[in-house]
Amino acid sequence: MRYYKSFLKLALILSTSTVLFANDDAIKLETGKTLLEAIHNDEIRSIMRQLNTLAYEREYTELELRKLNKRQVKLLVKEAAALADTTANLTNITSFKNLDDETQLAFNAMVNQLQNISEELRNATENNHQDEIDTAYIKLQETCNTCHTLFREE
């Protein structure tokens, strides 16, 4: 099952790469940014970084740590929600609609994956389950990296 999933993932990447390399037109937003530049997780990365280092703080009391954790988790929920909304709206823009069917299909697959993980992250942060937050964040990183490799213009 694991190899089957990996094979599918590889097939998706290869097929999408072929489509992209064959297409000279950059996927641009009306703002001039490349499509995937709109989906950025820098904020989420910063928040997770702060959450991670909080675990190793030596002098905060438990009450203060809870307060700081709560604040970071609130920010994380906000960013996860924004990320889900952005990905949902990307397929409605004009430049996306002008793309050929195969590229749209490949991109849609990645967008769906990103939306699912964003929802997962949102649920985990709302329930304040640290382990689930960590897992969802790792998945998010993997998805972002794959997407950037495929679509982002260097």
Binding site: Q50, E57, E59, Y60, T61, E62
Partner: protein, 389 residues
């Protein structure tokens, strides 16, 4: 009288059915109590023994004022778990909000220590006891003047020279804003003096609490805070009867934690003022010198530390911490054997295979210089295991 068991059972069932549903429904306890702590075991090797008698803790936690001058050249090894901590939190709903109370103990009380031959006493010492409700904090905890996030991750219990961490009684009000927080606090006043013979004096009759205001800017790149403090230093007839000299002074501190690549971060504190004495480096310098006529001369102090933490992997990291504290003492009043300069350097390698467990080793170099130019050094290697529960 014989009672039919069937009759008794029926009465019991009927009674259960008659009890209102709200009573037999599962009761939700509004009180939330949680317990936790950490186990910390230290193995410490000192190049110069600064501990003296068994009740001293200078061999176990870096105290710059205890660096021997001249150097003793007597090394020592010690092991202890006094920096282990236990804590409890109790949260009670109160109106729309909740009242949270926190208490924490470590085992650093050395007053009742035994000789340490067959049994080393590790008496509990209260570190924190405070309650928070909405924006108000009352009790004993870290001073508002400090920024705890600027405190580096080190094995040593006391921290670098120039750090501001002290715990005492306070009342603090903070406001959370979109860009950070503001704080206003009244904290326990406690003037400390150096006498004309060089000894330390504590008056313990202070009348006005220390007044502290702080603003903290927080962003995804980290945080920076600026704190201001006003203190009255009061001699209260201590030296000469009828002479009750008192002086107001001020101090400023800027500190923060800034993130760089990945989890690397820079932590810093810089403080300056003429009433910093008991706040900086565990009272390495006193607040003021007091002459034989009972007149107070406030001591100008500058201190701070700079710490860079590099993460080699997601579990392995190192911190390099440099700290310094300097006091401008009036040697026309106090002897030239009083402290002038302290510095410290910490370098460590810490590993956390799981979040709750950290193993690490740390090298510490301390330096102390007196007004007469004499100085002393201390080198220390500390192995620590910390397990949080």
């Amino acid at each position: 009288m014989n009672i039919n068991p069937l009759f008794t059972r029926s009465i019991f069932i009927i009674a259960l059915l008659l009890i209102p549903p709200t009573v037999i429904a599962e009761h939700t306890n509004p009180i939330h109590l949680s317990l936790g702590g950490r186990l910390k075991i230290d193995g410490i090797y000192n190049t110069d023994s600064v501990g003296g008698i068994r009740t001293s803790k200078s061999d176990l936690a870096f105290s710059p004022g205890s660096i021997p001058v001249p150097e003793t050249d007597r090394n020592s090894f010690d092991a202890n778990l006094r920096e282990s901590r236990v804590w409890a939190t109790l949260t009670l709903p109160l109106g729309d909000d909740s009242l949270a109370t926190y208490v924490e103990f470590d085992f650093f009380d050395t007053k009742k220590d035994s000789l340490g031959r067959t049994h080393v006493a590790n008496e509990p010492r209260m570190r924190h006891l405070y309650s928070t409700f909405k924006n108000l904090t009352i009790g004993k905890t870290y001073t508002t003047f400090a920024n705890l996030s600027a405190y580096p991750e080190i094995n040593d219990a006391n921290g670098p020279v120039g750090n501001l961490i002290i715990r005492h009684e306070l009342i603090s009000y903070n406001t959370s804003l979109s860009w950070g927080e503001t704080f206003l606090a009244l904290e326990k006043g406690e003037s400390t003096f150096t006498s004309s013979t060089g000894s330390s004096l504590q008056i313990n009759d202070d009348q006005i609490p220390d007044i502290i205001a702080k603003v903290k800017f927080s962003e995804t790149w980290g945080n920076i805070s600026a704190a201001f403090m006003l203190r009255e230093i009061n001699a209260d007839n201590r030296i000469m009867h009828g002479v009750n000299d008192r002086k107001w002074g001020a101090a400023f501190s800027a500190s923060g934690k800034i993130y760089f690549l990945k989890q690397d971060n820079l932590r810093f504190t810089i403080s300056y003022g003429n009433v910093l004495g008991k706040y900086v480096s565990f009272n390495a310098f006193n607040d003021a010198v007091i002459d034989n006529n009972g007149q107070i001369n406030l001591t100008e102090i500058i201190g701070g530390h700079l710490a860079y933490q590099h993460w080699w992997t997601s579990t392995l990291r190192s911190s390099l911490v440099i700290g310094a504290g300097y006091a401008d003492q009036d040697t026309r009043i106090v002897p030239v054997t009083v402290n002038k300069l302290f510095t410290s350097t910490h370098l460590n390698l810490l590993w956390s295979p799981i979040r709750k467990l950290t193993l690490g080793t740390e090298w510490l170099h301390g330096y102390r210089k007196l007004e007469n130019g004499n100085d002393g050094h201390l080198d220390r290697i500390q192995f620590s295991v910390v397990y949080k529960f």
